[in-house]
């Protein structure tokens, strides 16, 4: 069947069973939009800014596991999308971005809305393509989805010049694809796995540390089995939350810069560390030299060899799909009665429980002023821990990570690696479209939320009943916290003057807006908003301006050098 390039693009999306495409039209993609118009199976979601298109596609992927798709035009369409692409890249999220390009003969002529898309996006994609021949569209789209979703996932961009979308050729979608230079390892090396298990059996203080890789591999159930059969403590990174149930007694909380006292202490003082789908980044272990002061053996399971021994030397590297390796470990555990020494494990837990008594997440609540932590705790209670929670970036993000207990993976959606302010609302859009009928909350702040506030309009158009919890402290809270702690209270440009009336702003977009000033009104407002099943509610909580996130490890310090409360200052 002979089709135009634009028809082929849509047919490829249909073949991939893509239901939603997030995008924004423009000159170079008009042929593609024309074909979108003529069919029904691929639903297009019109965002208000291309950045949000990629964020929404990214969250769609984070919450479902399938690649999200964004469609943008050439030039500014692409440059606007770059933040979204880099965000997905840093967290290894499968997204396919289709961008329009000026016609092939115009490339390099500084044509209207021309930009070197492949060049600009190269450092923040897993791979990208410029398709100069209509016959290459179908195989390239197939490759794009395969690359995005396999191995260590990531965004893949396909740049298609306008004349290529108008040209015609025979359409055939390849059933499968093989790329000779790309063969991600799936199964872990048997010998290494056996070596790891031997180390684990000899452990007196084992510790399981897992990251986003467990979620990406859908290996949560396997991790739970593995941890339970060892009885070892588990900590999750910010990206790994939900990979292990937060309400399980083996869970010691998130670790890292704002991790719990017990998580950071057990991480530092364990004797065998099992790292699974995590990458020892600077926000997780702090200063690697300080972390290295304590002798411990490290087993590291990751699909990406370059993540292993990058910041911390490991003893037993296992390259492979986290799920496959955990399966193998579980099989081996089932086949033997050997376990780590029970007495040692029990002593280890006594130590951890002693650390737990520090109750490091306790905070002083107030009847007068709303504490941001209290809002998150109420949100958790009212949604029974079952909501999808997206967040922006800053203090509110850390409080959400600390006080909302995620028992299931793919429920906590945030920008961990790049730390992109503004993702909250577009993330919630992607999640809500992927999970219609499920409660979706955005935890945000008055600064972050303004970075993609225009998407309130998209939410109205598609009737997305997300609940936005704005922890409004009139400060760039995390910046203010650093300035207070490390810059002599000099609050350089971290105060926000002339904020909008968010409740009225939400109303202007056609939504419900509420302003909450008193702690006593928090629960009622939240309950009310979740009762409004078909409406977006913007809850503007006026919270304590001076609250800080604790515990805190200062950037560059050791993991155990924690500031636990304002009394430590």
């Amino acid at each position: 069947m002979v089709l135009t390039g634009a028809e082929i693009v849509i047919r490829c999306l249909q073949e991939e069973k893509i239901e939603h495409v997030f995008g924004y039209p423009g000159g170079a993609v008009l042929h593609i939009y024309d074909e979108l118009f003529k069919q029904e199976s691929v639903r297009h979601v019109l965002v208000r800014h291309e950045q949000a298109a990629v964020h929404a596609a990214d969250a769609y992927a984070r919450s479902t596991g399938r690649a999200g798709v964004a469609l943008v035009t050439s030039g500014p369409g692409v440059t606007n999308a770059v933040t979204g692409i880099a965000t997905a890249y840093m967290d290894s999220i499968p997204v396919v971005i289709i961008s329009g390009q000026v016609p092939v003969p115009a490339i390099g002529q500084d044509a209207f809305q021309e930009v070197d898309t492949v060049g600009i996006t190269r450092p923040c994609v897993k791979h990208n393509f410029l398709v100069k021949d209509v016959r290459d569209i179908a195989p390239t789209m197939k490759k794009a989805f395969y690359l995005a979703e396999s191995g260590r996932p990531g965004p893949v961009l396909v740049d298609i010049p306008k004349d290529v979308t108008a040209a015609r050729c025979e359409f055939r979608y390849p059933a499968d694809i093989s790329i000779r230079s790309y063969n991600p390892v799936v199964k872990g090396h048997q010998g290494q796995i056996r070596k790891a298990l031997q180390l684990i059996f000899e452990a007196k203080r084992p510790m399981i540390y897992t990251g986003g890789g467990v979620t990406l591999a859908d290996a949560s159930e396997k991790l739970i089995r593995f941890a339970k059969s060892l009885g070892a403590p588990v900590t999750n990174t910010l990206m790994g939350l939900g990979g292990f149930p937060a309400t399980d007694k083996l869970f010691v909380g998130m670790l890292g810069m704002h991790g719990t006292f017990e998580a950071n202490m057990s991480m530092q003082y364990c004797d065998v560390l099992i790292a699974i789908g995590a990458r020892f980044d600077d926000r997780v272990i702090g200063d690697p030299a300080h972390f290295g002061q304590v002798p411990r053996k490290i087993v590291h399971i990751d699909i990406d060899p370059s993540s292993i021994s990058k910041r911390v030397k490991v003893d037993v590297p296992i390259v492979g799909d986290v799920g496959e390796v955990l399966d193998e470990l579980n099989r081996m555990l089932d086949a033997t009665a050997e376990r780590p020494d029970a007495q040692a494990i029990s002593d280890w837990w006594k130590q951890i429980d002693a650390w737990r008594t520090r109750d490091c997440l306790a905070y002083k609540n107030s009847d007068e002023i709303i504490k941001p932590q209290f809002v998150i705790q109420k949100l958790y209670e009212i949604t029974k821990g079952e909501a999808f929670v997206t967040s922006d970036v800053g203090q509110h993000q850390m409080w959400a990570a600390q006080y909302y207990l995620f028992d299931k993976p793919r429920r906590w959606i945030n920008s961990g690696g790049l730390g992109t302010m503004g993702v909250g609302i577009p993330y919630a859009m992607g999640v809500q479209l992927a999970h219609p009928g499920s409660p979706v909350a955005v935890v945000t702040g008055e600064a972050s939320v303004q970075m993609c506030i225009q998407e309130l309009s998209t939410c109205k158009q598609y009737r997305l009943p997300i609940k936005i919890c704005n922890l409004n402290n009139r400060y760039l809270g995390m910046v203010r916290q650093w300035q207070q702690l490390f810059h002599g209270n000099r609050y350089s440009e971290s105060y926000m003057d002339s904020l909008p009336d968010f409740a009225k702003l939400a109303e202007a977009y056609g939504h419900v807006g509420l302003r909450i000033d008193k702690p006593g009104d928090v629960e009622g407002a939240l309950r009310e908003s979740f009762k409004r099943k078909n409406e977006l509610v913007f809850l503007d909580f006026q919270v304590d301006q001076t609250e800080n996130v604790y515990p805190m490890v200062q950037g560059g310090k050791g993991l155990t050098e924690m500031i636990l409360s304002s009394e430590d200052l």
């Binding site: 450092p123 410029l130 690359l147 000779r180 790309y182 060899p305 370059s306 021994s309 990058k310």
Partner: protein, 163 residues
């Protein structure tokens, strides 16, 4: 430590910039980089001379392997290998210098491939140290231009980098 890394990659537009972009993005050194198609026109062979600690070199090879268009990577300096570089050097050759330059070129097994009344172009191959030594051996003030290809290398004997 200096390392010579050799790779096979898809002979496609943009593959070179993925490699060079990786080096600049991750702040790795490049002393030289050469690339050209192989006997199989779908593949290019690239030789990169870089330096760094063992940890850095390990990361470099892993990161190179991660690039989709890179088919195979080998660190030639891990075992016996040969390296060659080609230099074209244009020198001012007048009066008694003409004879002296010719003699020195002969000693280094160089060839004079262009002659004018006042200049020679000398072609010289060898490892980088030999080319450096030639530059040291002649009067610096006579050098008009030097062009070097950068190092290319191949493993000795049974060490073969191919698909």
């Amino acid at each position: 430590m200096r390392h010579v890394i050799s790779l096979l990659l898809e002979n496609e537009a943009g593959a070179l910039s993925r490699v060079s972009g990786l080096f600049s993005a991750r702040a790795y050194n490049i002393e030289s980089l050469t690339v050209a198609p192989t006997e199989d026109p779908s593949l290019s062979r690239m030789t990169i001379v870089t330096s760094g600690s063992d940890d850095v070199i390990e990361q470099i090879t892993k990161q190179l392997n991660k690039l989709i268009e890179v088919v195979k990577v080998v660190d030639l300096s891990e075992a016996a290998h040969v390296e060659r570089e080609l230099m074209l050097i244009k020198v001012r050759a007048t009066g008694k210098d003409r004879e002296e330059l010719k003699r020195t070129a002969d000693i280094f097994r160089g060839r004079i491939i262009d002659v004018t009344e006042s200049s020679y172009v000398i072609e010289l191959t060898g490892d980088s140290r030999k080319l450096d030594a030639f530059i040291e051996a002649i009067d610096r003030s006579l050098i008009l231009e030097t062009v070097r290809t950068g190092v290319c290398g191949v493993g000795r004997g049974d060490r073969i980098l191919r698909l």
